[in-house]
């Protein structure tokens, strides 16, 4: 008898998708479609804590890492469904397909973080990516959106090829694709380090592309700007979480015994990412581009936790994403709250136009910077602490110094909202769901910052 309990959320989401196929024939209004997906996602979310354990001889695992990340993906899904409902660039004509793609990619991500074996990992990553390529181009006949989609697809396929190449090399060396087996073989492996490094490099390249880490980050600003804003919001959190979760699982389970080999590679990537992202973000005037670079930087911080590859590191990673989902999507809620929200200029005097939005945005920005009492601080604290624990203090010092410029580009928005005046004075009245989302996100950012212990209650 196969133990299906760990797969409970996935099974339920699959059933939701199948029933949505049928449901979509009868109900075609935006409201009913969104509601269906929302409820389906919510129930899946609630099923996650029930699903602990291993299935399929250990190939599929539901542990802290995967459960918490699935939690993040589903929250993101709920957010994006709420965002999309009144976002008029995604036409009614494609709304049905759009919702399917969102759910399918979420399902793919859930499988990615649960895979403990290279073949299923690769298949789930492809499953996730194919849906994402389509999502980027969901605005029909929009040149920028279609370009983003094509760019993402071409480069993404190349990265997948590298990923597969890496997997093949590792398989050739260890005759296994199952992480615990690989770990066992590597323990005894004395020579052939050259092939091992090649394999790890190719794997890292593929995963780094999916996570948007420098020097494989160039696609993300273009894709982020080209994609419709709710999709950008989705991209900035969920696929990153999936790729970095897979990263963590591969390196902390399969390759943990050859830690000395890959630590320098990842350290270089992490520091380069932080440097590039934090410097390039300084002068951005398009908010989606800014958030693209900021999300690259955040992936860099999370990579630091992966370098630690310890229990504390895993914890730091999942906590980081839990906070990130609130602060980043909260910021997206503010971006979506008014037309022109992409434009930095439009934030001048936002405080006058809508005090609540401006204050909430300031909270998200300070949280993204990592200033207490917001959740971003605790998240960053955990990440850096996991690095200090394994003795890489100098990496932590360099990384934290590279994070200093970030406060400048986040504050540029704050400066505009609070210290500058609007040219045209008009009140901004966002829709109810945006207000609600902003309030929930703000609460999330505060709670994760002041009472992070709540998080333990949920997952332990």
């Amino acid at each position: 008898m196969i133990n299906l309990k760990p797969l409970l959320p996935e099974i339920f989401l699959t059933l939701t998708i199948i029933s949505y196929f049928v449901y979509g024939f009868y109900a075609r209004s935006r409201c009913s479609l969104s509601l269906f997906v929302f409820v389906g996602g919510l129930v899946t979310l609630l099923l996650i804590p029930l699903s602990q354990g291993i299935a399929f001889k250990g190939f599929f695992v539901a542990d802290l890492l995967s459960q918490a990340l699935k939690f993040v993906f589903l929250i993101t899904l709920l957010y994006v469904v709420a965002f999309s409902y009144s976002y008029d660039q995604i036409k009614d004509k494609v709304y049905y397909e759009y919702m399917i793609l969102l759910m399918l990619s979420t399902l793919g991500m859930m499988l990615v973080v649960s895979s403990r074996e290279f073949i299923s990992l690769f298949l789930s990553i492809e499953f996730m990516s194919l849906s994402l390529y389509l999502l980027a181009g969901i605005v029909l006949f929009d040149f920028k959106s279609n370009e983003a989609s094509l760019k993402y697809f071409l480069l993404g396929s190349l990265a997948s090829a590298f990923l597969l190449f890496g997997i093949a090399i590792i398989y050739g060396l260890t005759k296994s694709s199952y992480f615990p087996d690989i770990q066992g073989v590597l323990q005894m492996l004395s020579s052939n380090e050259y092939y091992l490094i090649c394999g790890i490099l190719a794997l890292t390249l593929g995963l780094a592309f999916k996570a948007g880490l420098a020097p494989f980050h160039q696609w993300s600003p273009d894709v982020y700007v080209g994609a419709p804003t709710p999709v950008t919001a989705f991209f900035s959190v969920a696929p990153k979480g999936a790729a970095l979760g897979a990263f963590m699982r591969v390196f902390s389970e399969a390759f943990v015994v050859v830690k000395d080999l890959w630590t320098p590679i990842l350290v270089v990537i992490a520091l380069l990412t932080l440097f590039v992202a934090n410097i390039l973000a300084l002068r951005q005037i398009n908010l989606k581009r800014l958030i693209a670079y900021s999300s690259i930087a955040h992936a860099g911080y999370v990579l630091l936790a992966i370098i630690a590859a310890s229990e504390r590191g895993i914890f730091a990673l999942v906590f980081y994403f839990l906070v990130y989902v609130f602060m980043n999507l909260g910021a997206f809620a503010v971006i979506l709250s008014h037309s022109e929200g992409e434009n930095l200029e439009s934030y001048s005097g936002l405080y006058r136009a809508n005090g609540f939005l401006a204050l909430a945005m300031l909270g998200f920005l300070f949280s993204l910077t990592g200033i207490p009492p917001f959740g971003g601080f605790v998240a960053k604290f955990l990440v850096f602490q996991s690095l200090v624990e394994i003795g890489l203090v100098w990496v932590a010092v360099l990384a934290i110094m590279l994070s200093v410029p970030s406060i400048y580009y986040y504050l540029r928005i704050g400066v505009r909202m609070f210290f500058m005046d609007r040219t045209k004075v008009e009140l901004i009245v966002p829709s109810t769901e945006v207000k609600l989302i902003t309030a929930i996100s703000l609460a999330g950012v505060f709670i994760t910052g002041l009472f992070p212990s709540i998080f333990y209650f949920i997952f332990q």
């Binding site: 200033i371 203090v393 406060i407 212990s453």
Partner: protein, 495 residues
């Protein structure tokens, strides 16, 4: 150790936050101001009750509260005060009342937000001085940035955006290094952030030096010590009066307080190695700060630069690492908070009348506004360190400590005192005695600028004057709190 029946220290910390919440629901401007004033006053009395119940003879911390906060991280909400802490809590409470009073008429836009922010700042300031858990300390320390950023940026003068961003960037850059230091302490010191536990452990010398430098980055920028001072003139000058008073009165002290509270007990062996460099930096700050002050043409900027020089005395006193030096430094911190606060309030009141801060535009105040001149006389005498005023005692003790430690540096202090006198006298002379040009006088008269101080201003000035003379004539009010904690500290250094 007296165990309080109810968490009195937490009450003092969070009471202003409660006041800020109430203010958010008030509509009328007068109600808001009154609520803010009442909150700070009530909190001052709550704080005074702590001061009176504080036992000066007992070593260690009093009014300690210890609750588990984040279990998995080993973080607890642990607060308490010793003789040093209780003085700074009191200073913060007094400064907060003054801040509300001095902004009474000068803040005209977004009044509600202003007073709410002011009260939030008060909560965080007191929290910084009470925190005994390093994580908690860092949370308060860094959170202080947010209200200060907004206070400077929204209500500041023309270059406010530049000043506020610069302030935040500098402070943030320094404090992240301290964060790394705190993290490494957690692993070196038995997985806890509890300061009292951490300071029991003897760390390796090399580690102590690095740890000291990590904390130094944060504290030196906040103080600010010599090459890290460039944010200060901008922030102080552009901030609204209340912001300047908080910056000068509390924020600068947070850094110096950090040295005493964290660097000394945690890195005692690093001190003798780093001491000479720190002393030299302090002396450079004194002399250089004073020379730059001499060049200023803007009254507020002049006071700001003089702060660099005065904080140089404080850090010099701290790094003499002997008792007179340290006692003088702490006394001088409180003096500087009061005196510089007073000077900022004074120029704030003048700015409300004349709408300029240029020294060249002022004159003849001796004849036209005698009340203000008396106040300025007292405050600048105190800033100079005139005998009978509070700064005299502080500077004297610092000089005593310096001579005990290093005679050469002691002599350079004399130059510092001399220059300090020069710029204050020059300011006083220029503003009080020099003739105004007739057309300037005409415009000022037309604007009705020569208004005698009103009741609110008189109350502020008189109470500040009382502080100045009381501490000058009976410094034991402050010093008696310091003997026990400093003896304890110096004993731990000798070990």
């Amino acid at each position: 150790m007296p165990v309080p029946s109810y968490p009195v220290l937490s009450t003092v910390i969070f009471f202003p936050l409660f006041g800020a919440l109430i203010i958010l629901f008030l509509k009328r401007e007068t109600h808001i101001k009154t609520c803010a004033l009442l909150t700070t006053l009530v909190n001052l009395f709550l704080g005074l009750s702590i001061v009176f119940r504080f036992d000066k003879e007992l070593p260690g911390f009093q009014f300690v509260e210890d609750y588990l906060w984040i279990e998995a991280l080993g973080v607890s909400y642990k607060i308490g005060v010793d003789g040093v802490g209780v003085l700074f809590v009191l200073l913060s409470l007094i400064i907060s009342v003054l801040c509300v009073l001095c902004s009474w008429n000068s803040i005209k836009v977004r009044v509600r937000d202003f007073y709410a922010l002011l009260l939030i700042t008060e909560t965080i300031m007191i929290g910084v001085f009470c925190a005994l858990d390093l994580f908690l300390f860092y949370v308060f320390w860094e959170a202080l940035l947010i209200p200060m950023f907004l206070l400077i940026g929204i209500w500041g003068s023309s270059k406010r955006i530049y000043a506020s961003v610069k302030f935040v960037l500098f402070t943030f850059a320094g404090s992240v290094l301290m964060l790394i230091g705190i993290m490494s302490l957690y692993f070196m010191g038995g997985k806890t952030f509890d300061l009292l536990e951490l300071q029991k452990i003897q760390y390796p010398l090399k580690y102590q030096v690095w740890l000291f430098l990590a904390f130094f980055a944060a504290f030196a920028i906040k103080v600010p010590m010599f090459p890290f001072h460039t944010w200060l003139p901008d922030a102080h000058t552009e901030a609204p009066t209340a912001g300047s008073v908080i910056l000068a009165g509390i924020l600068l002290k947070v850094g110096a307080y950090g040295f005493i509270r964290f660097c000394f007990p945690l890195c005692p062996m690093a001190l003798p190695i780093l001491k000479p460099y720190l002393q030299i930096l302090s002396v450079v700050a004194i002399i250089y700060g004073a020379f730059v002050t001499l060049l200023q043409t803007d009254i507020k900027r002049l006071i700001a630069y003089s702060s660099i020089s005065h904080m140089g005395y404080v850090t010099l006193g701290i790094f003499t690492t002997n008792k007179p030096g340290l006692e003088g430094a702490i006394l001088q911190m409180i003096n500087h908070g009061i005196v510089t606060g007073a000077l900022f309030i004074w120029i704030g009141a003048m700015y409300d009348r004349f709408h300029t801060r240029e020294i060249a535009k002022y004159g003849e105040l001796g004849r036209l506004l005698p009340g203000f001149v008396v106040a300025l006389l007292i405050f600048s005498a105190a800033a100079i360190g005139f005998p009978g005023t509070n700064s005299f005692v502080g500077e004297f003790l610092i000089a005593l400590g310096t001579f005990k430690d290093n005679q050469f540096l002691g002599f350079t202090l004399i130059l510092g005192f001399l220059l300090g006198t020069a710029y204050m006298i020059w300011l006083f002379y220029r503003v009080t005695f020099l003739e105004l040009t007739p057309d300037m006088k005409e415009t000022f008269l037309k604007e009705g600028a020569f208004k005698a101080p009103d009741l609110r201003e008189i109350v502020m000035f008189v109470s500040l004057g009382i502080f100045i003379f009381a501490l000058g004539l009976k410094p034991n009010i402050v010093l008696s709190f310091l003997h026990t904690p400093l003896d304890l500290l110096l004993n731990s250094l000798l070990k």
